[in-house]
Subunit: 162 residues, 2 copies
């Protein structure tokens, strides 16, 4: 590994050598993940702006479409945010007619969440440019490679329970 001796610039020691992968760190993955994710969410961001919504709304619309009938508690557990934080965006989505809340048939304290037609269309519209991006990234990759990518994404996540 490199020496990386600190240099003195104006009487204070600083490092003028780049921090590289020599330290055993996959900086290309760390940075690739940052840039990729940033660009990945910029697509739906542009669409959401027109409706006056943000990323938080996107997540709610997405998961409610993925699992219609999920409860508020389910959603909080998925998003890992507080109910007060969710309440703001959820209220706006309900008021705007993208999501409906229905009292649970067994437990009537629950509020089961469903997308309206507009809600489903919004979810699809938001997913579309993201899918385009994924398709482009997958272009020219073997089925094996794509599997590796999906395995990677799962492997990067926290293990359930704990």
């Amino acid at each position: 590994m490199g020496r990386q001796t600190p240099e003195r610039k104006n009487t204070i020691e600083v490092y003028d050598q780049p921090l590289t992968g020599e330290a055993g760190i996959d900086f290309d993955v760390i940075e690739g993940f940052f840039f990729a994710y940033r660009d990945f969410i910029s697509d739906p961001d542009a669409i959401l702006e027109k409706s006056g919504f943000g990323r938080a709304h996107h997540r709610v619309v997405h998961f409610v479409n993925r699992e219609p009938g999920m409860t508020v508690a389910d959603l909080l557990d998925t998003l890992k945010i507080t109910k007060q934080s969710l309440a703001r965006v959820l209220k706006q989505l309900v008021d705007s007619g993208y999501i409906r809340q229905v009292a649970g048939p067994e437990d009537r304290r629950q509020r089961k969440l469903y997308p309206t037609r507009a809600g489903r269309e919004l979810a699809l519209a938001l997913a579309e440019p993201q899918q385009q991006r994924i398709a482009r990234a997958f272009d020219g990759m073997t089925a094996e490679d794509r599997k590796a990518v999906k395995r990677f994404l799962i492997g990067m996540q926290n293990t359930r329970d704990e």
Copy 2:
């Protein structure tokens, strides 16, 4: 593709069928990316909390370590944020002794950025748990697979220039 007929719940039509990959969308990648990224940044978040810093500080410390001597303009271009937004976190990092600013030797209007010893150590400490996570995700993967992941991360990014 599925019928996905809207149901009526309390006189308003809603969808009670999950939105699945039938629509030609890789939801496993979309969601995998979301969960993976969230968990990925939670590791350094925990470390930063002790110093009273946030994610924005992390990014600055990271890139200044990766490219010591970069100017403020370089950093703004990399992060794609406004100078006012950068100013807040950069000032705190300079005041706390993690980063030093040196007037450019050719163009003295520039402020070249360098990490101090503490700044380099912080960058390494923040990268460490992320590297652990990457290593775990890569565990059991072939060199071919890992290459695919890196290609994917690049493919997901916006093309330069434009």
